[in-house]
C-alpha cells in the first residue's frame, strides 16, 4: 500500500472513529489503571462501537539489582515514566483510529544472564509482549539475542557492544535486534581527533574492569591505530578499588603523554583523582560514560579541565537552538527530573527512553486485528524502516537494514569540565 493511500485510509478511519466516538457510547475514562491481566484474556474479537483495542505490551527488563544497577535504575525510571505518561494520555491511537492501552511490564534481570534469559522468555511466552526492551549490560544483551531470534520478537538493547546487533565473525546484522546507545568506538574516534589535534602520539589507557570498560579499550585500539596514536600502557581497575598505585606506577614509567580513561562513575571519578595526584601534568581524556554530573560531584576539583566526547543529553542547555535534539532533550530532562523527584540525569536513562519510545511509536503504527506474530513482525519492520532522522536522547537515529543502531561518531559532541560544569568544547577551541 502506498503511503498516500495509507494516509487517506487512516484519515477515513479517524473520521469514522470520531463519528463512532460521538455516538452515545460510554467513553472510557483514560486514567483508569489497567487491571493486571491474571488470566490472559483472548484478544477481544470485533470491537463494538467503542474503538478500543487490545492492550499492547512492552516487555522491559533492566539490571535493577547487582553490579549493573547504577545503569539499570535510571533505565527503569525512564520506562516507568513513559508508562505513567501513556496512562495519563490514555494510551495510543493506531492508524485505524483504535485506541490501545500500553502496558510496560518491568522485570529485574539481577545483572545476571541466566535471569535475563528467563525473564525475556517469560515476557515473550507468558506475557505475550509485542516487543522487548532489555539488557542493561552487554553480556546479558548477547544472551537475549538467540532467544528473540528464535521467537521472532523485536528486541531493543540498552547496552553498547556492537556485537549485540552484528555478528563479529560474519558481519551479519541480526534481523530482530536493535540497540540505542552510542558506541565506544565513536567515543574513541573523538578521542583520536583530539589527541591528533594536540600532537599527542603516546597514550596510556586505563579502563574499568567491566564489559563497558573493555569495550572502550577495544574501541581505542581500533580508532587510534590510523591516526598513529600508540597505546604504550594499558591497565584495568575496579570500581571498588581504594588505591591505584599499581596503575599509576605503570603510567609514570611508560612515558605516555596523555591518559585515556574508559569508565563510568564512581570508578571514573576515583581514578581521575588518583591521576591528578600522581601525574598532575598529563591531560586526561574520558569516554562518553562519564559525562554526567555525578562524575564531577564524585571527582571534585580533580575533574577540572577533563575533556570527553559526550552525548548531547548532558550538554543540552548549551546546544545551539537549531539542534534537532534540543527540544527532546530538554523535555526529557524536565520530565525525568519531575518524575523521579530530582534524580540526576544519566545517559543510561536516555538509552532506556529511546528504546521504549521506538517501541511505543512502532506499536502506534499497528492496525487492529493482527495476530501476535504479525504484530511483532510489523513492529520490527517499522523500527527498521521508520526510525530514520529520528531525534532521541542518544542522537539522531538513522536505522537501516544493515545498521540497527543508526548513529555515527557525530552523535557525540565534545565537552570539558569548567567551574564544576560540563561545557560545550567545540573543535574550534581545541
Amino acid at each position: 500500500m502506498s503511503s498516500k493511500s495509507q494516509g487517506v485510509l487512516s484519515l477515513l478511519l479517524v473520521v469514522a472513529a470520531l463519528i463512532a466516538a460521538c455516538a452515545p457510547a460510554p467513553t472510557p475514562e483514560p486514567t483508569q489503571p489497567p487491571e493486571p491481566p491474571t488470566s490472559a484474556p483472548e484478544p477481544t474479537a470485533a470491537p463494538t462501537e467503542v474503538p478500543e483495542g487490545e492492550t499492547y505490551k512492552i516487555g522491559f527488563s533492566a539490571s535493577i539489582t547487582g553490579p549493573g544497577s547504577s545503569l539499570g535504575e535510571p533505565e527503569r525510571n525512564s520506562a516507568e515514566m513513559i508508562a505513567q505518561q501513556l496512562e495519563d494520555q490514555g494510551g495510543i491511537v493506531g492508524p485505524d483510529g483504535v485506541r490501545h492501552d500500553v502496558e510496560i511490564i518491568i522485570y529485574d534481570d539481577e545483572s545476571n544472564p541466566d535471569t535475563t534469559v528467563s525473564v525475556v522468555r517469560r515476557l515473550i511466552e507468558e506475557d505475550q509482549v509485542q516487543v522487548v526492551v532489555a539488557g542493561t549490560l552487554s553480556g546479558n544483551s548477547l544472551a537475549i539475542v538467540p532467544v528473540v531470534t528464535e521467537a521472532e520478537v523485536p528486541y531493543i538493547s540498552m547496552a553498547s557492544a556492537r556485537s549485540i546487533i552484528q555478528s563479529p565473525e560474519t558481519g551479519e546484522t541480526y534481523p530482530w535486534v536493535f540497540k540505542t546507545p552510542q558506541e565506544n568506538v565513536h567515543s574513541a574516534q573523538w578521542q583520536a581527533l583530539y589527541l591528533q589535534n594536540q600532537g599527542i602520539t603516546k597514550v596510556c589507557h586505563l579502563y574499568e574492569n567491566t564489559s563497558y570498560g573493555q569495550d572502550t579499550f577495544a574501541g581505542a585500539q581500533k580508532a587510534f591505530e590510523e591516526p598513529g596514536v600508540e597505546i604504550v600502557y594499558s591497565a584495568t581497575f575496579e570500581r571498588t578499588d581504594t588505591e591505584f598505585g599499581a596503575q599509576m606506577a605503570g603510567v609514570q614509567s611508560s612515558g605516555c603523554e596523555a591518559v585515556v580513561v574508559g569508565a563510568i562513575p564512581p570508578g571514573a571519578s576515583t581514578v581521575t583523582v588518583a591521576l591528578r595526584d600522581f601525574v598532575p601534568d598529563l591531560p586526561v581524556i574520558q569516554g562518553h560514560g562519564t559525562c554526567n554530573q555525578a562524575f564531577i560531584e564524585l571527582a571534585g576539583p580533580a575533574a577540572e579541565g577533563i575533556v570527553t566526547p559526550c552525548g548531547r543529553l548532558l550538554a543540552a542547555e548549551t546546544l545551539p537552538d537549531d539542534d534537532p535534539q534540543k527540544p527532546i532533550l530538554l523535555d526529557y530532562i524536565a520530565d525525568y527530573t519531575a518524575f523521579t523527584q530530582g534524580a540526576p540525569i544519566s545517559t543510561f536513562g536516555g538509552h532506556g527512553w529511546d528504546g521504549v519510545m521506538w517501541a511505543v511509536e512502532a506499536l502506534g503504527s499497528l492496525e487492529e486485528g493482527m495476530s501476535l506474530a504479525d504484530q511483532r513482525a510489523a513492529v520490527r519492520d517499522y523500527i527498521e524502516s521508520n526510525i530514520s532522522g529520528w531525534p532521541g536522547t542518544g542522537g539522531v537515529f538513522n536505522i537501516t537494514p544493515t545498521d540497527h543502531l543508526g548513529l555515527t561518531y557525530e552523535a557525540l559532541t565534545f565537552v570539558k569540565v569548567e567551574g564544576g560544569q560540563w561545557v560545550y568544547f567545540p573543535e574550534t577551541d581545541w
Binding site: 598505585g245 605503570g250 609514570q252 611508560s254 562513575p265 595526584d277 571534585g300
Partner: protein, 354 residues
C-alpha cells in the same frame, strides 16, 4: 544433619603428623628459595614496565593502606569465629552499612560545625551498625543457635543478601561521598616526597587501626566482659560451666564484629565512593586476610591483612591489575596448603566446638 558439626568445625591441626628437624630445615630452604624466586620474578616483570624503586615503594605503601582495611575487617571475622565458630558472611554488609550510615548522617544537615558533624557521623555509623549487628544476632543466629554451624553460616549469607538489599532500597544504586577527615572536603591533602604520593587519609586509616588494636587488647585483657569472651573462645563448655552466658557472648561478638567492620568501612570511605555493594569485595578480602592470619587471632588478622595488601598490590602492579584478586586467592590457597594454622603459627591452640 551432621555436616556442620564436624564438617566445618574448626580444626586446630588439619595437617597431621610430626615433622622431623631435617625436614623442617628443608622446608625453610624451600620457602626461602620460593621467596627469592618471587622477588626475582617481580623485579623481572617490573623492569619490563620500567619500574624503579619509587614504583615498588608506592606499591608497598598502597598495599599497606589497603591491607590495613582488610585487617580491620578480618578482626571482625576472627571475633565471631572465635566465639561462635561461625564464618560470618554478613561482615561485608557491616562494612558497607558503617560507611553509608556515616555518609547519611554527615549529609543530613545537622546544625553542627563540619568537624563535629563528621565526628557525630562516624560515631553514628559505628553505633548504628553495631546495633544492627546485635539485632542480627538476636533475630537470626539466636533462634537457630542449636542448628549446625553450616546452617548458621547459610543464615549469615541470607542476612548479607537482605542487608545489602535493604541498603539498595534505602540508598539506591548511586555512589556517595564522605569527605577526607583532614580537609573535610572531597579533595584530600596529598603528601609528596621524592615522587611518592601519600594521602592524609592513609594516616587516619593506620592511626584508627592502631587505636582499635590497643582498645581491643585492653578490652580482652583487662575487662571482665573481654575475659569472658576470651574464655568462650578458648572453651565454650568450660565458660558455660563458669557461669558465662554463651548466648550473650555470641551477641556481643556480632556487635563487636559489626563495630570493627563499620570502622573499616568509614575510614576507607573517603578513598572510594561508598555505595550499597561495596561490602562484597572488602568482605571477601577481609576473610582472606583472616585466614592468612589463622582465623583465630587478631594479631594474625593484622599481619594477614598487611601481607595480603602488599603482595596483591605488588603482583598486580607488575602483571595485570585485573588479576589482583587471582593473586589474593592463590595466596589464600597456598597458605591453606602449607600453613593452615596461619602465618603466625600457634600450635596446640584448642578451640572446642560445643
Amino acid at each position: 544433619m551432621r555436616v556442620g558439626a564436624d564438617g566445618v568445625g574448626p580444626d586446630p591441626s588439619p595437617m597431621s603428623g610430626d615433622r622431623s628437624l631435617s625436614r623442617r630445615a628443608l622446608q625453610v630452604v624451600a620457602v626461602l628459595a620460593i621467596l627469592a624466586l618471587a622477588v626475582a620474578a617481580v623485579i623481572a616483570l617490573g623492569s619490563r614496565l620500567n619500574f624503579g624503586p619509587q614504583q615498588y615503594l608506592q606499591l608497598v605503601l598502597d598495599g599497606l593502606r589497603g591491607g590495613t582495611i582488610y585487617a580491620l575487617i578480618a578482626m571482625g571475622f576472627v571475633t565471631v569465629f572465635n566465639i561462635t565458630g561461625i564464618i560470618n558472611f554478613a561482615q561485608g554488609a557491616f562494612v558497607m552499612l558503617g560507611a553509608m550510615l556515616a555518609v547519611t548522617v554527615y549529609d543530613s544537615g545537622l546544625p553542627l560545625e563540619p568537624p563535629l558533624r563528621l565526628a557525630v557521623a562516624v560515631l553514628a555509623g559505628i553505633g548504628g551498625t553495631t546495633i544492627l549487628g546485635l539485632l542480627m544476632e538476636r533475630l537470626t543466629i539466636y533462634p537457630a543457635r542449636h542448628h549446625s554451624t553450616l546452617t548458621l553460616i547459610i543464615i549469615t549469607v541470607g542476612a548479607y543478601i537482605a542487608l545489602q538489599g535493604l541498603a539498595l532500597v534505602a540508598w539506591g544504586a548511586k555512589p556517595y561521598v564522605l569527605p577526607a577527615f583532614s580537609t573535610l572536603e572531597l579533595q584530600d591533602t596529598t603528601l609528596r616526597f621524592s615522587g611518592l604520593v601519600l594521602k592524609a587519609q592513609s594516616f587516619w586509616i593506620w592511626g584508627t587501626t592502631a587505636v582499635v588494636l590497643v582498645a581491643l587488647a585492653f578490652f580482652f585483657e583487662r575487662t571482665l566482659t573481654g575475659k569472658a569472651l576470651r574464655a568462650c573462645a578458648l572453651n565454650r563448655k568450660g565458660a558455660r560451666l563458669m557461669g558465662i552466658s554463651v548466648s550473650r557472648m555470641s551477641m556481643l561478638a556480632f556487635g563487636l564484629a559489626a563495630a570493627l567492620g563499620a570502622t573499616g568501612g568509614i575510614v576507607v570511605a573517603p578513598t572510594t565512593r561508598p555505595m550499597y555493594d561495596m561490602g562484597l569485595v572488602l568482605g571477601l578480602k577481609g576473610f582472606v586476610a583472616a585466614i592468612i592470619g589463622g582465623l583465630v587471632s587478631s594479631p594474625g588478622a593484622v599481619v594477614g591483612g598487611l601481607m595480603l595488601g602488599v603482595l596483591e598490590n605488588l603482583a598486580a602492579g607488575v602483571t595485570k591489575p585485573g588479576l589482583k584478586d587471582v593473586f589474593a586467592f592463590v595466596l589464600l590457597i597456598l597458605v591453606l596448603l602449607y600453613r593452615p594454622e596461619g602465618i603466625l603459627r600457634r600450635r596446640g591452640r584448642v578451640v572446642e566446638q560445643s
